[in-house]
Symmetry: C2
Subunit: 345 residues, 2 copies
């Protein structure tokens, strides 16, 4: 056993046949924009990679640097810049349009190629005889945003993924300002889509999103940019993720009062603008399902929200291939408190 886990807490359990089958541990923190910790459990201080949870913060310069206005980017484009999408036709169309507004095409993207994560979209693409390209990459919207930002500010976008490129320097400065933690070579790793990801405490991630939720502590320009991004995410939940995805289902039901963003390896953030709160979660084993379950519990509890979608994700039925319920994925009571539903829904 290590310190890391000894201090972590139960986030979610898989129940099958009335028995615990699997358990997920991790950490979670709820903060307000003044830096006050409203709730914390587990190790919330050891720096960790926020992965795609910071995408909405990385999109701030699109607005503060004038790229969104120069290219008249619609709300869907701003949402796609914040997205980890499933490569469905709607996502590809928006990314294509973003690049076209700069006079570029998918050749400008440096995120790499993979088939659509949505299996139906992937099969549909295969049925046409076409191949996947960089537009289908789940991060293509963020990358199209980097291309827009490069072109709008007179930079050559080539190699925009490298830490020394002016675009990534802008990202590091923005994240450092918003989260209050240094972003430099000492805490830099590389994300799956080839750009840097900087390790920060979960508390700093939650604080950054409490500021994003409210504008407090961001300065006037970034506060306005955050407001526009919140509106864009709220207007286009499908663009943020896609069919059957947690972020999409939650925001279709609860935005603009609740915004969420998943990240790889079990990181999750939630934004509660009316409550002035930011939430950050890490499932220590990288399990996305548990991060979703924990997020639903904390949104219900600290957002004062009550919805069938949240209840579903707090106690998600597990079905066999014949469609019969054989168990559930259940939020830990330490997170959900008295908001845990009585039965899976």
């Amino acid at each position: 056993m290590t310190e890391h886990t000894r201090s972590d807490t139960l986030l979610a359990e898989v129940i099958r046949g009335g028995r615990v089958e699997s358990r997920h541990y991790g950490a979670a923190v709820v903060m307000d924009a003044s830096g006050k910790t409203v709730f914390a459990t587990g190790d919330v201080e050891t720096p960790l990679y926020p992965r795609s949870t910071v995408k909405a913060l990385l999109a701030l310069p699109l607005l503060t640097e004038g790229a969104a206005d120069k290219y008249a980017l619609p709300q869907e484009a701003l949402a796609l810049a914040c997205a980890s999408h499933q490569g469905e036709p709607e996502h590809v169309a928006v990314a294509t349009d973003m690049l076209a507004r700069t006079g570029r095409d998918l050749g400008a993207l440096e995120c790499g190629t993979h088939w659509p994560l949505d299996t139906r979209a992937s099969r549909a693409l295969a049925a046409t005889g076409e191949q996947a390209n960089a537009l289908h990459n789940c991060c293509s919207g963020k990358h199209a945003g980097f291309v827009c930002l490069s072109c709008a500010t007179g930079q050559d976008p080539a190699n925009y993924i490298l830490p020394e490129h002016p675009i990534m320097q802008t990202m590091a400065r923005t994240l450092a300002d918003v989260t209050g933690v240094a972003h430099n070579d000492a805490n830099r790793g590389t994300d799956g889509c080839a750009i840097p990801t900087w390790a920060i405490p979960l508390t700093a991630l939650a604080l950054g999103y409490a500021r994003f939720a409210t504008g407090t502590g961001l300065g006037a320009e970034r506060a306005l940019a955050a407001e526009r991004l919140r509106a864009a995410m709220s207007a286009a939940p499908f663009i943020i993720a896609g069919t059957d995805q947690f972020d999409t289902l939650i925001m279709q039901d609860l935005a603009p009062r609740v915004l969420t963003k998943m990240g790889a390896e079990g990181v999750m953030i939630a934004v509660l603008p009316e409550k002035g709160l930011g939430i950050a979660i890490k499932c220590r084993d990288g399990g996305v399902r548990a991060a979703e379950t924990a997020a639903a519990a904390l949104i219900a509890r600290f957002g004062g929200e009550d919805s069938p979608v949240l209840n579903h994700f707090m106690r998600r039925p597990l079905k066999n291939w014949n469609g019969l319920v054989v168990g559930e994925l259940r939020a830990a009571r330490e997170l959900a408190g008295d908001r845990l539903p009585d039965a899976a829904s």
Copy 2:
């Protein structure tokens, strides 16, 4: 924190940018056929669902009850009965053939339908305009085996998935005999493919496979059946799983000295016939990747095996979508001992 996790041990870590990104905890045990524990770490006593790791044990009655001989099942059919396959054309062909030998077709399967788990096979199927069917279900071989067993023993296969059907009663008795633990309503859950899965201690699972490895304690008929199944698995590693899968890669390299079988929710077994050992692993959070990593470490250490494939799975490189290495999935030193390679491979 609960007893369950306090007593678990580190199995594997994800490293990115020189930093621990995620950690998997769980339990592992190595036993010989006399019931002696050679190695144990974590909670190896609390009963848990072995899921698909018991498939080779569930295939024993195919041989002891005469179905394999009656239908002249080839080694590939016996291997498919033990398989969690990826729904590739080779797997579908063998399942189809098994059913045809009984005069049945896919209509006899009660496992439910899903698209091939191998994404290339899934796209290729979609490109033909066809739909997935029950033959593509990862458990179709096991289910085809149940149909063969039903027909060979003069039972109507209808509802063979139900606990009260004679076929499932045979499965419960077989598992109870081989593992030494009662299999009844009190420890029964339902697996993803609709048949029962009975919760047993990890020690019982390892003991069952030590007996399967050696024949010791099985009686003459089951010992011979185990020998034939070991030969079938060794002869057809691709049939057991499929393209790029752990079980296939390990057995292509190391069978018949090493056999492995994954199960859902992070359970894994390994069989070391020459050493007379059975290995059972549970990653507590259900992470298959960590169960694979832990299995590679214990096979290297207790099997005395040294191979590039094992080294790869002990320190598996993580690549971004551009193909560059950005981290690794590394076995815990407590498991691997001095067999942990110096660098990812």
